[in-house]
Assembly symmetry: D2
Homo-oligomer: 378 residues x 4
């Protein structure tokens, strides 16, 4: 079966996110990178396209040109799906145009910069036939998929406690210097939206909590930290979560956890057991049961769920990393496109992105109103 | 120099807390267990005393008899310090009598069952010459002492984030059965005070946060979980902490984290680095620094602080456990008694116990008033 | 700059080694898979080529046809390098033809099935301009590269002890059943050469010991295990190593270490420190120094060597896996081809493959002669 | 029941081994330290006795006096068992006298300085009623006991591979300096016997291999390292082990593994599974089974063997250390004395010590004869 033709917006030069998406797209050999707009400077874009071995005619000046010209191509030549890797504020207008012109979309998170924009995209997609993925990258790890399968199968019983942590330290060297913090685009609401820490990493933790548990957060109470009065963006926060009447949780996120790299952890406890996972050691899933030995599940074993095994390409003992996780998401998108099934569970959806935007708004709102409970609506 | 004569209240038969205290008392050979009341049944108490090799005349019917008769002995024979290992509601009356009669006291936590009782003890001790220790056992670990020393010396700079977790799962098999939960003394306010989870383990985490950081919690906001309407005691909770204007923290405690044994962790981040520790692997202290390799400090090395080294008896590579930690606290008490110095920093004090009682009251109060901020006063 | 045109021999259908090489070839976007022979059945080969999106005219019936027709193409269209992923006994004849016709070669290990064949290839390459890599996959991990850099820079001083382990358990369920063991191709000398365990995984450990230490094994003494008299191939073994007069080492390999997955470890000690690494947790390198905290180095930090950093594509905290390791080897080959430099240190060479063949022969010989010392010659 | 009266030879002042034995003896409250000879200088010995709270009359000038005077005491006052903590060369004459006078003996390892002496002790004990323990300390860990129980119960089936490692780095800073190495008593054969590394730590590994597996080493082939010609004692070595026809093993020991503390590991594989343990993390036992999740067993759980549980005093999650391990050995000795059962399996015996001496002799002999196989005889 022919590969899916993929266009890319942004991610040129040495962009890290660019490499991540391209490796992921190539990993299962379901996509063929066909064209795109890699840079606002068209010459740079052309050079980059050449590096990728693309036909010059498929490297466009801008999205509008790309859409127009691709639509003139015969269907079996035309770009089918487009990855949006541009700065956050461009996600919305680009995704909107792509949806309106019948393309499938793979969009980096956060989906948009406001909840309102996310709602509009959601409405457009509902009426379209497009597959729309939001790349919450970490959901593609085989052991996260195993965790999701086990919880769905009742392995840990009724959930009674959900605890997610996402700690980084990268903003510490910037935040204590007035000049540096005011020059950082991540701390500029014009460029990054209303939240830094919750918007950037808190949403990953929020999405993961809902993704693996299969439960929805009903209300939240947030306590954020800005450290300096002149800093307009949160750089640390704790959010109390209520999933159901007696199912409580807590989400902790920080960018001032000095020395932490990308310490994202998930702990979920039910009345029959617990499951724990750490992003920095993604190939280990810990199953806790009363009066039994701790079990450490690792990828690739026959006793794992099909959903998990589908995401592992080599036998046990061959470590997988972040590329594999993103590769699994791209594979999920490819299958959805080929099977024409909109919601498969194998990739994070526009709906997940919308929930994320709602979470950001409610969290900042709870904090600013004095740490009060606020209901999640979407 | 002669050993300190130690009396013990409770802890007879196969009491676990009894073994822990006796091993700790013997460990540094500073104490000699001399007498006590090990059981309300005097015959059982006598049998137990025999097992310990005690003189029958020093095994008493009750505390009153013990105090009266010991005071009749010459000073160089008399019991000098007494460990209180009885059920919680007896801590207060026993400690009060002991203080009023000039004995040093080593009391299990929680110090009392109400904040009011704790305040009274505090006032009595302030006027006495007695040393009074509350056995927050985990503070005696060499790597906790190292953590405290490093923070005090500025190794991680100004603290900006404090995160403590204490997760257990032991109450899960009881809580979902109406008969079992109503028959558990831990869930009976008459016997355990107003809080189960926060009172039993949350206070350990609270004490540790203040102990290692050298900072005081100023206010708290708590969200507790009782799971069932007929259950009067919290079994899980998250508490937002405010240490200073911009120093925030979070304390998480649970007894329904199914499958967890005694998963108590401390993570503290400053503007110059971070420090992390886990009780179940107590011989490892993790030092995180920007753009440096992660450092794993282990006990017994010459580069550690004197305070840490004092608590390690063997060369590096010989694992220490919970007995060693309690042994260090007993040693700290012994030194305080011998040196006649009331507050040395080497053992948790009555003041720490009082803070703990205050924390329990404020936490329950915050939760019951709808998860609002409440100031710590003591 | 244009991508290098890559041909592939074998690795079709769901071959695991096929996926590993293709992902690696694509990872840094230096290669373009252009053609090959993926299956002895030409129809299957054509189908597979279609799956990869290849031009049918570049999917050949056999190697001879491929060489002939590719050489008729203009130089800027012609396949430049070829990956050999076929069964072991085909490595030699294929590599020979490719070298003789001016192609660069990337060959799976073991290089050949006999030492004699390896020597012939070595002589041919010496006279050619071809780059020749043997894919000792694990040498491409960033932390292995860091280990190599640190040892070369004297970080651990003069080496005095080298210890490598490669334990797997996969042959246990086969070996104890006479029918199963006689039906396994890995245990058939016709198909696998003279050694199973040492040939398959012992050579990895041997190569790694020499690669990271920069030292050469001078002589060996081996004790192998065959478990059953009718089993002609070793499935476990320990090899004493002598690197220099007083530099001793030991290599342990097993395929009957039941339950082990791919437990390959490297421990090297010098007079100034030690370095340790485990393949199943490849992103951690442990540096041991006397009277210093244990240091755990992780990929992507600025303080690492350039050689290590070149192999890491994302910031710290984004785990890398086996694909990344192989990707780095392919990248090393690409740079060598582009720069026309034969031996760069950035990929394992034909010489390494030759050493590996020699090691296999000497090891089996030492064992069969009664566990005596034998000199390595090549 | 009355405590067993214990005498101690050596271990005075701040002797580390002294603390270890006293804490262990006190831990289960089965022994009462009654007297001894703590120092060759009688005044120092008396001072130390006072520190322990002993009666001056039980602090003796030398062993002869101690034996003579104790034997004059009534049986219910007399010292029953004696711990020998003196330098190695004194073990033999002291143990001999004690056995000949009817005392039970607890002797530090190595049992003697020559195999011949060990044989003599063995013969004397065979005719006596004395319990004789050799303190291979690490055998007392609860998870080692669990490992032993599981192997005995067939949990991992027939053993096919045994791998033990004991790596330390402490001799590195001494060995490269001619003056330092010649001044170290550990490297003086007069004081330490014929072997340093194998004698000191290799014997631990050897004993452990036999203890947990229940198998006996039949022959060995050793390759030792002395590093310098003027150094008379091995400081590193690898020993090939043969347990039965096809059961092979390997023992690695080093004191020049720079930076290692006390890295003693045991890996045993059978045809039904594998078991692994590390001394520096003694509370974790790893059970490997084909196609099952890795299991991590921890102390104190009801599903563990009685033998393991007997050695754990607190509930799961309360870490145990080296004192607990030695405490369990002392407890085993106490039970043997009380029950008058000579060989209970709960403590290492004189026979184990004898095997250890034999192992040292054969190992050095194998090495000196050119790394040849030598049969173990005792």
């Amino acid at each position: 079966m022919a590969k899916i033709r993929l266009g890319i917006l942004g991610g040129g030069n040495d962009s890290l996110i660019g490499i991540l998406h391209r490796v992921a797209a190539n990993m299962f050999e379901q996509f063929e990178i066909t064209g795109g707009v890699f840079n606002v400077d068209h010459d740079k874009s052309l050079n980059f396209g050449e590096r990728l071995g693309l036909d010059r005619s498929r490297v466009y000046k801008n999205l509008e040109e790309m859409i127009r010209q691709e639509k003139e191509l015969p269907e079996d030549k035309r770009i089918q799906a487009v990855s949006i890797l541009t700065p956050n504020f461009l996600h919305y207008p680009m995704a909107k145009q792509l949806l309106e012109n019948g393309f499938h979309v793979i969009c980096e998170k956060p989906l948009t910069t406001t909840l309102q924009e996310a709602r509009i995209l959601n409405e457009i997609q509902a009426e379209s036939n497009s597959i729309f993925a939001v790349t919450y990258t970490y959901t593609g790890y085989p052991m996260i998929r195993q965790m999701k399968s086990m919880i769905a199968n009742g392995e840990i019983g009724s959930i009674q406690k959900i605890d997610v942590q996402y700690y980084q330290g990268w903003i510490n060297p910037l935040i204590h210097d007035k000049d540096k913090r005011s020059a950082t685009w991540r701390l500029d609401p014009e460029k990054s939206g209303i939240s830094c820490c919750i918007g950037d990493i808190g949403t990953h933790a929020f999405n993961m909590a809902e993704y693996v548990s299969g439960m929805k957060v009903e209300k939240i109470l947030a306590d954020l930290n800005y450290l300096y009065e002149d800093n307009p963006m949160d750089i640390d926060g704790t959010v109390l979560l209520r999933f159901g009447e007696n199912v409580k949780g807590v989400l902790r996120a920080s960018q001032i956890a000095t020395g932490e790299e990308n310490n994202f952890t998930v702990q979920i406890y039910g009345d029959k057991g617990g499951l724990k996972w750490e992003q920095e050691n993604p190939n280990y899933l810990y199953l806790l049961k009363e009066d039994q030995a701790l079990q450490v599940l690792k990828p690739g074993h026959a006793f794992l769920s099909d959903f998990s095994l589908e995401g592992t390409k080599l036998p046990p003992g061959h470590p997988e990393g972040i590329f594999d996780s993103m590769g699994n998401i791209y594979y999920g998108v490819a299958m959805a496109i080929k099977d024409k099934v909109k919601y498969t569970g194998a990739y994070p959806t526009l709906g997940d992105g919308l929930r994320g935007m709602s979470f950001i708004e409610k969290t900042v709102s709870s904090h600013k109103q004095g740490n009060i409970w606020i209901k999640m609506q979407d």
